[in-house]
Symmetry: C2
Subunit: 377 residues, 2 copies
């Protein structure tokens, strides 16, 4: 029967040392894992709904959305979204018309482009400095703003390719000067490192709960200045409690409860960001000592690291598994991270692994290089 | 500390006899509960993604989305959505322009209106027959189609207020004759009862996994005729694997895995729909014997039942808990269903409860009436 294989799903990666940038910030806390089972049934979030998800008091979504998240994000108003991309589309859909222009950084996530396509916008990119640092200089927004009069600007902080942290606060000053609404896409920042919308001077801050806030997916948050509330969270003309742009309610299910259950832990962990940065810099240096080359800014200021790995690429050209050999070698050692198939260059994140685990990862890379080099000799 | 209460979330309703219409079709199977824990971590769905959620082969999302769901829905093409409302908005956003008109049934869910507001559409409603049956006669679409030339028509099948099943197939004939795209909102049908888009003659079929397919929320499905694929699932001009209207991927998380894990069970259970209908009719008759009055069509053809309860309303006028007395009396007996606060009229669903449990519910209603009547004497 065709559906027999659907009776049980196992995930082999669950208990490995996790270096996958998409996943290291989204590993659940024990509290979130309990909440999963407790609120797993469809619509169990809504037992005591009186018409608006973010006003539910049992479980305490109201307090979370209206008090804790705004304080955490340094914003006036926050709401729950299906994720960062949906938040970006919401802002674009509310603040622009088809044919309008927006300006974004050249390191933007692909979903920034796709959201702009869905909103039928022209998208202009501020180029990065290119190989090997790929840095975005926010001063480069200025001539483009003067030329194109965008309806919105967006900065990816940090970007998901190189983990670069551009000068978001300086761009806040630019946005204020030119009076252009400014979206900070903090999908890899909010929940990992201290990030305040007000301090940066953005109009909107976007976080991804499944990417960086120890939450099941999909789930995210959109914070904003008070002045945007009446536009972004405008109510239906027919249903006075329902927000049009959210289609009434967004995450009416268990990912939101895991987000809440992990929140005390996430709130605490951002205070240890300097330790995370030190760990990432040490790891990067150790891999460079093995002949890999870290791309992006140096010294690196984020756990997301992108490496060129010419030695691994060389091996991949001579083994039957081709680029998959690296994934297989690492998996044998209980390590999950570089995207299966990639060996020439790959991304890892040091966020979830301890220094001891990373030491083992470094030794494993060393072993793999030695093993294949000695074979080649 | 403000976040202390966030360390643990308990749901008292979890193990009660569940009659809440929103919830009875979304209770997880054991397989789904295991999948929850296995794939709970953020983005764990995407371990082996090659660029498109619905093409992931491990876990077998590709087979689910491209083979099993289309066969189950009787459609050509299916995709995963965050839920029914998001699917409705997707179709509206793709097939209309602001200012266009669509025609929907008067029993439509509130999210149909809100989705149309988000898409800036004029919405014209085919009125129901009103109290007490609230039936929608699909022939009433015809003069409105002739007058307003809508870009879309939508039928709610069944509606979430009365559980009425209008003649969806006849409306398929109307849609074909007038060549107007037809959305069947089957949020309370797909996963409960056999429902085939092709047989009905709709262009789009929408299902809610957390409402009717034993899945964690939020999660849904949109099925369509092949002819709409290039519009609804159009690819990004920049990222050739990414679907613009889905913002790349929708349910990149564990609700989708629970949907898949429950699917063999859901596929089987729709074959027992006649037993569900018999159970609902019997329950309705028993409550009518106690003096309640079932609204909506009779004999009723769905597990969602709406009752006027003048005797309970009378009691609520004389007790300190007012309308909440019914919720409290039922909770004491291990029953969860009518919305807390409602006593004058309320909705229940017989879908998840066994006949024995429903017998206990009937006896409980009887007890509550007797207890309060004897008090009043």
């Amino acid at each position: 029967m065709a559906t027999q294989e659907f009776s049980s799903f196992k995930r082999e990666q669950k208990d490995l040392i996790n270096l996958m940038p998409l996943q290291t910030g989204g590993i659940l806390t024990d509290a979130a894992r309990e909440a999963l089972v407790e609120f797993g049934d469809g619509f169990s979030t809504c037992d005591f709904c009186l018409g608006n998800l973010c006003n539910i008091t049992n479980p305490p979504i109201k307090k979370f959305a209206h008090e804790l998240l705004p304080r955490f994000l340094g914003c006036d108003v926050a709401t729950i979204t299906h994720g960062a991309r949906e938040a970006k589309f919401m802002v674009m859909h509310c603040l622009t018309n088809p044919g309008d222009t927006i300006i974004v950084d050249g390191n933007r996530h692909y979903t920034t482009v796709v959201a702009a396509e869905r909103a039928e916008l022209n998208i202009i990119e501020v180029p990065s400095s290119g190989y090997p640092e790929f840095k975005v200089n926010v001063a480069d927004y200025i001539p483009l703003i003067e030329k194109h009069h965008p309806k919105l600007i967006l900065l990816t902080y940090p970007d998901g390719n190189y983990g670069n942290l551009p000068d978001a606060k300086r761009l806040g000053g630019v946005a204020a000067k030119y009076n252009v609404p400014y979206i900070l896409n903090g999908a890899y920042a909010v929940g990992r490192m201290p990030t305040s919308m007000m301090e940066i001077g953005a109009d909107f801050i976007i976080g991804s709960a499944h990417k960086s806030m120890a939450s099941a997916g999909p789930c995210g948050v959109l914070g904003m200045k008070k002045k945007w509330e009446n536009i972004l969270l405008r109510k239906s003309a027919v249903y006075k409690k329902k927000e049009v742009e959210l289609l009434g309610c967004t995450v009416r299910g268990v990912p939101l409860i895991t987000f809440m259950a992990s929140f005390p832990y996430v709130k605490e962990r951002v205070n240890h960001w300097d330790e995370q940065v030190a760990k990432a810099q040490w790891f990067s240096q150790e891999l460079e000592n093995l002949g890999l080359k870290q791309l992006g800014g140096k010294p690196h200021r984020h756990d997301l690291l992108h490496f060129d790995a010419p030695a691994f690429y060389e091996i991949s050209q001579h083994v039957p598994e081709r680029g998959y050999f690296l994934y297989k070698e690492l998996k044998k050692r209980g390590i999950w991270g570089p995207q299966p198939g990639l060996a020439k260059s790959f991304k890892v994140s040091t966020f979830a692994a301890s220094k001891e685990q990373l030491g083992f990862v470094i030794d494993s890379f060393k072993d793999i290089l030695q093993k294949h080099h000695s074979k080649a000799v």
